[in-house]
């Protein structure tokens, strides 16, 4: 797959393949596919994640983004292709497996248990304990202190970590989940549409945490359908459509406009314009759509690369 020799110094700084001494990706997928019965949810997806890099996965609803992260997070198993962690082919049987391999996932909706206090959520599944045998109990004070400290580092200043986490705003909850993953030494952080349900300001906050996580040396997979959120923070972009990869770009090879054009799907817009024309009587709407088509076409022309890569090999240039 050779997704370029993207800063292998960074890659080698912490980890290296002990057997071959050749640089390996922190996490890489090669031709990964998944089907549910006769429904093909995902096929032939190739991507890589490295330390201190953000890989964005873009796609519309039903493009296969969720299936992809569920495979990486261990909730589902892939049927085709190979998933490498540090160069080893792996197949995760449970989220615990993935966690043990250093892959933490922050889900959009099920990141936390709403009725539980923040500190309990923060340490859920990895509680700190003191004592031994049957008298082993949680080190509550230490856990509360750490929660407070870690969240403060993320810029959330809480006085009361006893609050049910359901009382926090959506952005804050995402941040708790991110802080949790960072604290527990995740090497790969998967963020499932962290900005989807958020307002502009809160989205900005979450994007900042993504960069913080990246700067702390994590490999980040950022799933979104918003190219405006992906472009500023991303280093690589994987575009999915109908369960298939339609492009895999390095940041230097693509602009925001091209990314948007690919995402928006010029062909669909043109079709909509055609339909409106046939129906008649929707002059206003028709004009708007046509303007949109023109805009998309323009961006695509400028790109040129985008079109070429869509028809030819959609692989990383």
């Amino acid at each position: 797959m050779n997704a370029k020799q993207i800063d292998q110094q960074t890659l080698l700084k912490d980890e290296k393949d002990p057997l071959t001494h050749t640089p390996v990706h922190l996490l890489s997928l090669e031709g990964v596919g998944k089907h549910y019965g006769n429904i093909i949810a995902l096929r032939d997806v190739t991507m890589a994640v490295d330390n201190g890099r953000v890989t964005c996965v873009l796609g519309d609803n039903g493009a296969g983004k969720s299936t992809l992260i569920k495979i990486i997070a261990g909730l589902h198993q892939h049927d085709e292709g190979v998933l490498h962690v540090m160069g080893d082919a792996r197949k995760f049987n449970s989220p615990r497996d993935a966690l043990d391999a250093g892959i933490a996932t922050v889900y959009q909706d099920l990141a936390v248990v709403p009725l539980m206090p923040i500190w309990r959520n923060f340490f859920l599944g990895s509680e700190l304990t003191t004592g031994w045998g049957p008298f082993k109990s949680m080190d509550v004070q230490k856990m509360k202190d750490i929660t407070l400290k870690e969240l403060a580092q993320m810029g959330i200043d809480l006085r009361d970590v006893e609050q049910p986490i359901g009382q926090l705003s959506g952005g804050e909850r995402q941040c708790v989940a991110i802080a949790r993953a960072v604290y527990f030494g995740a090497k790969v952080l998967i963020l499932d549409e962290p900005t989807a349900a958020l307002g502009v300001k809160q989205s900005g906050v979450v994007l900042r945490y993504i960069l913080q996580a990246r700067d702390r040396g994590l490999g980040v997979i950022f799933i979104t359908h918003n190219p405006h959120h992906a472009f500023p923070v991303g280093d690589r972009f994987l575009l999915l459509k109908r369960g298939k990869s339609i492009g895999y770009y390095d940041k230097k090879d693509i602009t925001l406009d091209e990314l948007t054009a690919q995402m928006a799907g010029g062909a669909e817009l043109a079709e909509l314009a055609h339909e409106l024309e046939q129906l008649g009587g929707h002059t206003e709407a028709l004009k708007e759509v046509q303007a949109e088509v023109a805009g998309v076409a323009e961006a695509a022309d400028v790109a040129d690369v985008a079109d070429a890569s869509r028809e030819n090999s959609p692989r990383h240039a």
Binding site: Y107, L110, V112, F123, G125, M138, I156
Partner: protein, 352 residues
């Protein structure tokens, strides 16, 4: 989420701070799951104490505590299970199954009563395990799974008792070796200042203490809240959801074993048709105590208070010399009031 929507937008310079910290200790206290039940218990206690002078006498209190403990022991397990997001309809008859196992087995083979006691423990834990295992494997609602167990156990209790003992009641085991020592462990009384307090009261208190400690201070407790609050989220962060759920059903089985042994050794025989309907009393105690039917919220102490309310109402009506026919009506009314109070208290506490 709800609170941020109702509050004016916070200035960016001080994020998060002014939204918290205004919760006074009283509001914090009102946010506890068992508050509604505690208020109800105090009101009920004052009420019965004022209408019946005998109600507050030590002997009467000991009787009330005993009545409460027979519900409360089970309510401990049932509360934990409900916090874990499931409930169990088979508990009432499972208690009798446990008692019947012990008595029929040791009687049939003329063994030491303790052999039966140990076997009963295995059977009780086994019933819990099967309940939990079927539940996590089939992903059916616990209502269906435990309703099926309830019916099967009801039938087994009657059929096996008649088949082995030849009667609807299990044969007397008072002549067996070990009966006296088992009686001393499970059904004796302890004298405190001249008042005979049944040993079940102490079992009850110990179980509540252990359950509270597990729930609030151990990671298993954290997992119980999590699987009840959001099983998918719990699974995603690596909580062993299936083990936790099966373990909870087995904990209920353990509580059932203690109560079953008490039922057996308090006398020397058990009626095979008993126990039907008791499962609702345990669930009621847990719900009055602030456990959410949907899981993820509640406390072991709450279940204990719920059981105490039940015991007070049950005996209080007798001490007040009313017709006991009214008891069920009061029970229903209390359940309704307690759940409404819980709901309001919880909503208000969360909005604050």
């Amino acid at each position: 989420m709800a609170n941020t929507a109702t509050l004016p937008p916070a200035p960016a310079s001080a994020p998060g701070d002014e939204r918290i910290g205004r919760r006074s200790p009283i509001q914090k206290f009102l946010g506890r799951p068992e508050v509604g039940a505690l208020v109800g218990a105090v009101v009920l206690f004052i009420f019965f104490a004022s209408v019946s002078p005998t109600f507050t006498q030590p002997n009467a209190l000991a009787t009330i505590l005993y009545g409460s403990s027979t519900i409360g022991i089970m309510a401990v397990g049932v509360s934990l299970l409900m916090i874990g997001g499931e409930f169990d309809l088979s508990t009432g008859v499972a208690v009798i199954s446990s008692a019947l196992t012990a008595s029929l087995f040791s009687w049939n083979f003329s063994l030491n009563a303790w052999v039966g006691v140990v076997l009963a423990l295995v059977v009780s834990l086994g019933i819990g395990f099967v309940n939990g295992w079927i539940l996590v494997k089939t992903k059916l609602p616990s209502f269906i799974v435990t309703l099926a167990t309830f019916l099967m156990l009801t039938g087994l209790n009657l059929a096996l008792t008649r088949l082995i003992g030849g009667s609807v009641s299990s044969p007397s085991i008072s002549k067996l070796d070990g009966f006296d020592s088992a009686h001393a462990v499970f059904a004796s009384s302890i004298s405190i200042g001249g008042v005979e307090v049944k040993i079940t009261v102490f079992f009850w208190i110990i179980l509540v203490a252990i359950a509270s400690w597990v729930l609030l201070r151990t990671k298993v407790g954290n997992w119980i809240f999590a699987v009840g609050g959001d099983a998918n989220a719990a699974r995603a962060v690596g909580v062993p959801v299936t083990k936790t759920k099966i373990g909870l059903f087995m904990a209920v089985g353990f509580c059932g074993w203690i109560l079953g042994m008490h039922n057996l050794f308090a006398f020397d025989a058990v009626q095979s048709g008993e126990g039907v309907g008791n499962e609702f009393l345990y669930i009621i105690a847990a719900v009055i105590g602030g456990c959410l039917l949907t899981g993820g919220y509640g406390s072991a102490v709450g279940g204990a208070i719920g059981a105490f309310i039940f015991g007070m109402a049950n005996k209080g009506i007798v001490y007040a010399q009313w017709n006991p026919d009214w008891f069920k009506f009061f029970l229903g009314l209390m359940l309704l009031l307690a759940t409404i109070v819980n709901l309001i208290v919880k909503r208000r506490a969360e909005l604050k």
